[in-house]
């Protein structure tokens, strides 16, 4: 090839300009666009009718329902929701659905729980609320350990989990998350172990350890708390950093939702574990967390247009609605039942459940959006058509907005 390689893209700018200037290219526009139009208009009927198709055939409905490939089109509800018009190769998904199983959704919860708990613990540590401290530290360790198990278990090659430490890639939320966990995990662990100081004998080696532990634990506790917010929010980027339509487009909200959900769950632990006297901060955390969570969830359910659909329908819709109820109930309980250990405990449980439901709802909402080509094609097609009508470059892409 020629020794001098022109700057990448140069050739194509020239080529595009040539075509744009060139009348001969018009036919593409004039003959191509109409056909598309004809088809869309002509097929609107077929399309609407075809939505009855599954209903017309119980067998296939059941089958598709099982497969989930287009499960949404299963029920009669379908008939009321006019199907967004799109084309795809034999109607099949364009994206590969996430291969992550339920344990990643569970990790989203345990990771957030750990973070929330560590913050709670640190607060307790600094403001002299031992119950909050202890409960927070112990829960954090338990949660982060569970997280590790979930993460490794989900790998196709669990024995190779340590390959995660080969690289440190800012472009990879999962890589960043790995390093955050690497920093957070040990700290949370030490902090929790320090709680054992009380039960150690006064004398001898163990005695010395017993005296040494609390300060060490305190340092570790603060370290954990320092990394906890990152741990709680990076998972938002983890999901958003994919081609899964309803995850990616929700990137502004996901960290907020997860932060709130983490706070709420941490608060839940506090409400469960601490005597009502010490639980004040937990109640306030619950309020803050719930606020963030409810706000974020509401946004993704409404702001994304077509891509909000998956969060409103089927199991994800159900989960998110449940989460909302539980959150509100939890907060109410936390505020009103401040004198009753039982009510506080129950609100704690309901906040935890809410957080769990949120994570699963968001997770499966995204999965559904990847399984249905509609959510891939429609928004992109709109983008292209808008651009085409915008500038006279039918078969070519215009430069997208700079970052």
């Amino acid at each position: 090839m020629s020794p001098h390689r022109p700057e990448v893209g140069e050739i194509f700018r020239r080529f595009r300009d040539r075509l744009a200037a060139d009348g001969r290219h018009q036919p593409t526009d004039s003959t191509d666009r109409p056909t598309v139009n004809d088809h869309s208009t002509a097929r609107a009927t077929a399309n609407d009718q075809s939505t009855e198709l599954p209903a017309a055939n119980g067998e296939s409905t059941g089958r598709r329902g099982r497969r989930g490939g287009g499960g949404r089109r299963g029920g009669g509800e379908e008939l009321r929701v006019p199907e967004a018009e799109f084309t795809s190769y034999y109607g099949r998904p364009i994206l590969k659905a996430p291969v992550w199983k339920w344990d990643i959704a569970a990790y989203l919860f345990t990771g957030g729980l750990a973070a929330g708990s560590s913050l709670l613990a640190a607060g307790g540590q600094l403001t002299g609320r031992p119950a909050l401290r202890r409960a927070g530290r112990v829960t954090a360790l338990a949660a982060v350990s569970a997280s590790a198990v979930f993460l490794v278990k989900d790998l196709g090659r669990p024995a190779r989990f340590h390959h995660m430490l080969r690289v440190a890639k800012p472009t990879s939320p999962m890589s960043m998350g790995t390093w955050i966990l690497t920093a957070y995990g040990p700290a949370a662990g030490v902090a929790a172990i320090a709680e054992a100081a009380g039960v150690l004998p006064r004398h001898g080696l163990l005695g010395m350890a017993g005296r040494a532990l609390p300060p060490v634990g305190n340092v570790a506790g603060l370290l954990a708390a320092g990394t906890a917010p990152a741990l709680a929010t990076y998972t938002g980027v983890l999901l958003a950093g994919t081609a899964v339509p309803s995850w990616h487009e929700a990137y502004p909200e996901l960290p907020v939702i997860f932060a709130g959900s983490a706070l709420a769950s941490g608060a839940g632990v506090g409400l469960l574990a601490a005597p009502t006297a010490q639980a004040g901060p937990a109640r306030r955390m619950a309020v803050a967390g719930a606020a963030l969570e409810l706000y974020g969830t509401h946004r993704v359910e409404t702001r994304l247009g077509l891509l909000s659909e998956p969060y409103r329908q089927g199991n994800p819709g159900w989960l998110l609605r449940a989460s909302r109820m539980l959150t509100i109930g939890g907060v109410a309980g936390a505020l009103l039942g401040r004198r009753s250990r039982l009510v506080s405990g129950l609100s704690g449980v309901s906040l935890l459940a809410a957080s769990l439901a949120t994570r699963f709802g968001i997770f499966y909402g995204g999965v559904a959006s990847a399984r249905d080509p509609r959510y891939t094609v429609v928004p992109q097609r709109e983008r292209v058509d808008a651009r085409r009508s915008g500038m006279d470059l039918p078969s070519d892409r215009a430069a997208p907005p700079a970052v």
Partner: protein, 380 residues
Amino acid sequence: MIPDPNSLYGPLDPAPDAGWSSAPPRMGFFTDTSVCIGCKACEVACKEWNGVPESGLDLLGMSYDNTGALTANSWRHVAFIEQPRPAGHRTPPFAGTPTDASVSAASAAVAAGTSKRTGTDPGVPTGTPSAAARMAGGGPVDVLGAIAADPTAANPIAADPTAAGLGSAGPQFLGMPGAQPPGRGTGEEGRTDFRWLMMSDVCKHCTHAACLDVCPTGSLFRTEFGTVVVQEDICNGCGYCISACPYGVIDQRKDDGRAWKCTLCYDRLGAGMTPACAQACPTESIQYGPLDELRERAAARVETLHERGVPEARLYGHDPNDGVGGDGAFFLLLDEPEVYGLPPDPIVTTRDLPKMWKRAGIAALAMAAATVAAFVGGSS
């Protein structure tokens, strides 16, 4: 060294950006579907060279496509689309024969119901009949007419699914819509135009490869040739790349757990050889070479086709300014991308990465602040 400003988005020569200071010219594929004869030599040659396992033995009824999609066990996939539409300047194939309305859309809708085990999960999932019908449609598509026709009355076998063998064939209906007795058509109101699109799909080896950027192990890496390769000795099957690919290319293999896709025959490139599929391709539909050369060749080819009365010819994935910074493997198509199962306007997820981290940071601060407030504010 400072990463290129376009490191996450926009035109970029990826190899130097990935640390290959003295990189050879970027190599890639240009797949010209206007000369593809759908022989599938590419699929076989790829499997032979790369030792890709068998991907299932089911008849899909998607025209002659029994592979279904790009999967961990099919790194080249030839798509077949039957459409009652004009093919360039060609004489209408069925002009003057006693035909009725077209069946392409209806058959495609049925085929959408088939699925296939490919050694991956979920293999080839079923599709949306109406979207399939639109893919194959060339005019009014009366899918309903086909379906609504009372199976038992009009279609004796449909009454008995087992006899009809439709257990796996999705919705049952007659081969074609319309109650008009066959052959009444003069050919005028019947189908006359027809074209059979074929296209060999493959990994796009994007300039901005999300799969690569999100890979937490560095298993996916950018080669000195600018291609994107999974290192099977590194991959631990975290599956992140699979949700990150905007084309749905990379996939996880069952009983193996790792992610697999086209390597653009990295080992052959190293030896100065042509990738297996391109070498086998009988009609030069798959062309391999320095990307810049291929882009110029493709530009010329499109112009030729336009001159020869094929206005529907257009390039896909050639433009360094598109959402993924241009594909290392790009295509000449004769219809909209989604007809071939390609996303119409993919955008690499990392474009928004800085904004994402920013939002995460703010959320994190909010979280911390909320905690502090929770403890300092208030009495109890």
